[in-house]
Amino acid sequence: MSENGALPHRGKVLTVDTMNANVKKVDYAVRGPIVQRAVQIEKELKEGVKKPFKEVIKANIGDAHAMGQRPITFFRQVMALCTYPQLLDDNKFPEDAKNRARRILQACGGNSIGAYTTSQGIDCVRHDVANYIQRRDGGIPSDPDNIYLTTGASDGIVTILKLLTAGEGRTRTGVMISIPQYPLYSASIAELGAVQVNYYLNEEKCWSLDISELQRSLQAAREHCNPRVLCIINPGNPTGQVQSRQCIEDVIRFAAKENLFLMADEVYQDNVYAEGCEFHSFKKVLFEMGPEYSRTVELASFHSTSKCYMGECGFRGGYMEVINMDPEVKAQLTKLVSVRLCPPAPGQALMDLVVNSPQPGEPSYQSFMKERTAVLSALAEKAKLTEEILNTVPGISCNPVQGAMYSFPRITMPERAINEAKAKGQAPDMFYCMKLLEDTGICLVPGSGFGQRDGTYHFRMTILPPTDKLKIMLNKLKEFHQTFTQQYA
């Protein structure tokens, strides 16, 4: 420090050059630049700027409530009772809601959801999750000690990836993930400095998984990294495919043979619409394949309160079940989750309600089932509608939306448009989606954000807007595509 007290010129400590290099590689298309532009346009609309549309339709993110889906009454009643227990004296609340609230509160420190919980999650909730899994999987036992409650499924996914990422250079952990994929995976892999190993889903065969493709991908990866993890999203995001039981068995067999840790992202497990499709949990199939597999294959499966019929994204509820994890690694996992103290207690309570929902005979059963069925059947209807309408558009081809909440249609783009995009330094489907946004107010996520085969272009659109709005949106999209194709012919 010089005499007059002035400091020498101080460069910043944290700059783009000094920051963690891995963080710079992180990208998350679902909330990326196109969404930022959408938010900007919304502002402009509010300020009275004239546009060819009156509102922005945010079909970019899997947020059901944002698109008008109503929360399940029973769940919200119990959440209110847990939050403000005075309401337990209010006779407007059904007895079954009160019982669940009392049970949850008893398991919380000081009978309050404001207390820290243990880092693995409230004991009785983990027991309820284990019971749910057991029921779902036809009696195959689930150990509460293998259940970790998480802050949404994302938290669990990132934690497991972190646990498994090790090595340097050629021994660096490789993580196999489908293309297309939900970009949390690519983002986390980049953030952790792991190696992303792509395996392509087969668009021609309804986005199914070919073992030969897994094999090809693995072999190639072994040249430059140590592939240790195989991630699979079922039902799929963005593709919506629901894997057949045979496929799941094949994947398990493959993982066993190649010594891969299986991460099964099953957050859309209730979102199955197509005839002939059924959700098969990886755990169930694994155990039905006999002890040769069920005692050896390492598996983590993930679930969440954000999707299915609940749509409770804001609460950040989720869990993961870990199977056949090395005890020392599990100890590390337990330690790792303790660093962030605990998952949000309201999310844990909500997860409890999902796995312990009203049963036949309980006061809330009828209305609960009515609401649940309404949501799921609306989604099924919208899935079909989307596929139908999009397939009437020349230049758009949409695989059946078998499950989840999205369509991922392929678009044919005129050469001129592709060139203009490239000249701008934009991915062609980003160019397409940006134009779509500016012209129609519809916000989608370009396929480049999820990964796709070279030379192909897609977008991901949610099926969540209310049916009439969805129809309007799909027709606007149809019009746009035709105009766009003509414009760049």
Binding site: L7, K12, V23, V26, H65, G114, P344, P346
Partner: protein
Amino acid sequence: MSFLREISPLVRNTFLSEKDVLLRLAAQIAAEIQQGERKDYIEVLDLSSGDLHRGGIKPITFVRQVLAACFYPALLEDDSLPLDVKERADDLLRQCDGGSVGSYTDSCGITKIKHGLSKFITRRDGGVPSSPDDIFITSGSQMALMFMLKLLVQSKVPCQTGVLIPVPTYASFNLALEDHGAVIIPYYLCEEQGWTLQVEELRRALHAGRKTCNPVALYICNPGNPTGHIQSRKSIEEVIRFAAEERLFLLADEVYQSCVYREDTKFESYKKVLSEMGSTISSTVELASFNSASKGFMGECGLRGGYVELVNLDPAVKEYTRILFSTRSSPPVGGQIALDLMADPPKPGDPSFLTFSEEVQSIKNMMCKNACRIQEVFAELPGISCQPLKAGFFVFPCLHFPPRAIKWAKKRQMEPDMLYCLQLLEETGLHVRPGCEYGQRKDSHHIRLLVATHEDIMEDALQRLKTFHMRFMKEFS
């Protein structure tokens, strides 16, 4: 560890560490009491963690009413809820997409809530401007700290990134640092002077650190956990000047900012002091300040509401920060609402104001009384001394063990204060934490007790401690 073998196999599980031994024993004793096994006490008294509600303090009524109405908007039609509760809930629901708290929010937090926080910060700091764009809401302040570490800690350098942290410091932060691959550079707080931060010690630590790593950040906890110390303005200025000279990123953990007991003591934020130090420093020193809804009078730990305010962050880095946050979807809505209510509580004239202020005052009075009572009791006990307790949730008294006690602990291959805590728990049912978990100077020993609890519980705890301590000291004298 010989003592570990004495833990019931019922309670043992695959994850055993020294830190866990106390938790296991507490659980075991609680189970035994439930099964009717006779003990000299009817229950375990848990003063081990900074959890207001677990300690028996009731949540703030206004906060819970607003949350309940947000979770279940049918309550907005309810006559039983006060008008300001309903208005507040209604307003918050308008900020949520689809009018539901089940929607995702902006990754960095609901915009209006960030505005509320920035106003709160400006009021707190006597007018120093704060921008909502510099505020990032997270699932607890611990997550915000971890994000900062993620940005700061380089994973692929010839030289590892170092972070200066105080000794003592709370245990999970150490874990977070290890988790991110940072090198921990300890600097010792000066116990004899009331746990103050001495710049010479910072300098010593930094120079030592530079020999083995690349120190980039300086972490301060003010008010201190576990020390209960609050920094003077002069001390804060010294630290800022030190960070400026030595090019360190300041991480100011200020989650206990609203827990100050003494009339003569005032909390001043790092941001405020920074802003008043002349433009060269105030416009260059990089600072992240953390706050939370978990501490203070709200004590809503389980809701996970925290935030970080970033000062003088490089704009290019901020963009990456935003992207990083976006991968975590959004912070839990319950926590965001709690933060909003913390930042903008009921005002005089509001229907809920009376109840609200009574509840808050009663908690404040309780903490003040406890702080006095603790110091009274410790003053009378031999072999235990305590620095003046000024702020925060805990007290961290020093135990002066007779040499025989030290020998005894050595024989059992355990830290003396850990063994003290285990015996204390076993014999009196009082659960507190040992100083070895937080770090302390060699051959010094401490325990950490929660102060933020009911006066009766505090009294009960102090009596149990007193009885045990007298016996212990006598036995080993």
